[in-house]
């Protein structure tokens, strides 16, 4: 008697575990009133330099902190710590991206109520981080002018998963003959209507505009949260 094969229908998201943790993180962040921003880019695009600058400047007005992911070394955490903000390194070992559970365990012992902004710097990688929700409010993708204008076309998935594109090292644009028109066209091709901001952590160009953008997005998120609370209060059920 030969065994019979039959088909069982299931419907299970492979990344279910990550999504469950990410959703719980997002709820925790919203309850604590902390605005969470993640950064993704290729290695060397300038995430850490921009983040150091951002932490240093935002710290004057807000309570800020950062988590930074790398396969090895605590070098980036050491750089970011120069901003005097609380910083924690996540060492992923061989894993090429951050997952929600890594963020969750890195936050153990932190009181999120004491924060206004939390930044999460992902591992330098334009492929794998796109699949993993970290519970962030805003995902920034950086491309530096030295990488060429076609990065968005080569890595459409990550650009599509991000909310904002930053063109970094803009102070070097002329030296490397960066074509901003082509770069913008490529970004818009893979993510129509995406906000694009030029920044240079080194010269400071565009940094104030970037910080304004972060402040306004945080305010908008807080306004939404407040109106939801008001609605819940008016109609408890």
């Amino acid at each position: 008697m030969s065994p019979k094969t039959r088909m069982i229908e299931v419907r299970q998201n492979v990344l279910k575990q990550n999504d469950v943790v990410a959703r719980a993180l997002r709820e925790r962040f919203h309850e604590a009133g902390v605005f969470v921003v993640s950064l993704v880019s290729s290695p060397g695009a300038g995430k850490t330099a921009l983040l150091e600058k951002t932490l240093t400047l935002l710290r004057q007005q807000f309570r800020v902190a950062a988590l930074v992911g790398d396969l090895a070394t605590e070098n980036d955490a050491a750089r970011l710590a120069r901003s005097q903000a609380p910083v924690k390194q996540i060492i992923t070992g061989t894993v090429c991206h951050l997952e929600a559970a890594m963020v969750q365990s890195a936050l153990e012992g932190w009181n999120l109520d004491e924060l206004d902004f939390l930044f999460i710097e992902n591992v330098g990688n334009l492929v794998c981080p796109s699949s993993y929700d970290l519970g962030e409010d805003l995902r920034l993708v950086l491309m530096s002018v030295t990488e060429g204008e076609d990065k968005p076309l080569k890595y459409p998935t990550i650009f599509n998963s991000a909310d904002v594109a930053l063109i970094a090292k803009i102070d070097l644009a002329a030296a490397v003959e960066f074509n901003a028109v082509v770069a913008n066209r490529n970004i818009q091709a893979v993510r129509p209507e995406m906000t694009v901001l030029d920044v240079s952590a080194k010269s400071g160009e565009g940094v104030e505009k970037f910080l304004d953008f972060l402040r306004s997005r945080r305010n908008a998120a807080r306004a939404v949260a407040a109106s939801q609370r008001a609605k819940a209060f008016a109609a408890p059920d």
Binding site: P3, K4, T5, R6, M7, I8, E9, V10, R11, Q12, N13, V14, L15, K16, Q17, V95, C96, H97, V127, C128, S130, S131, L153, P156, T157, I158, N160, S161, Q188, A189, V190, R191, P192, E193, M194
Partner: protein, 115 residues
Amino acid sequence: MHELSIAMSIVDLAQEEADRRGGVQIKAVHLRLGLLSGVVKDALLSSYEMACEDTPLQGSRLVVEEVPVLIFCRQCDAQRPVHSTQMFCCSECGTPTGEVVQGKELLVVGLEVED
């Protein structure tokens, strides 16, 4: 290259389902894979074989159905295929849109089993 960890999640998930249904033997796992999932089919297929080693799923197949990207076109007021993942516009009328309605799936949808 995160396909190996994805493949291991697929194996775990499939085995859990099989256990819940009284320990059936899995012959194949059917997966819907969106073109915007960030997972590469070929890398996933070879990772799957590795992930199955020394598990009850050893020797099973992974059957991948690739899911095209659909966007919602406001101009057409309908779901349409995207022109390409390098060009997010409606394949019918050419209007650019970032409203993705399908293509990010990474779903186990079926198990071929033997009792």
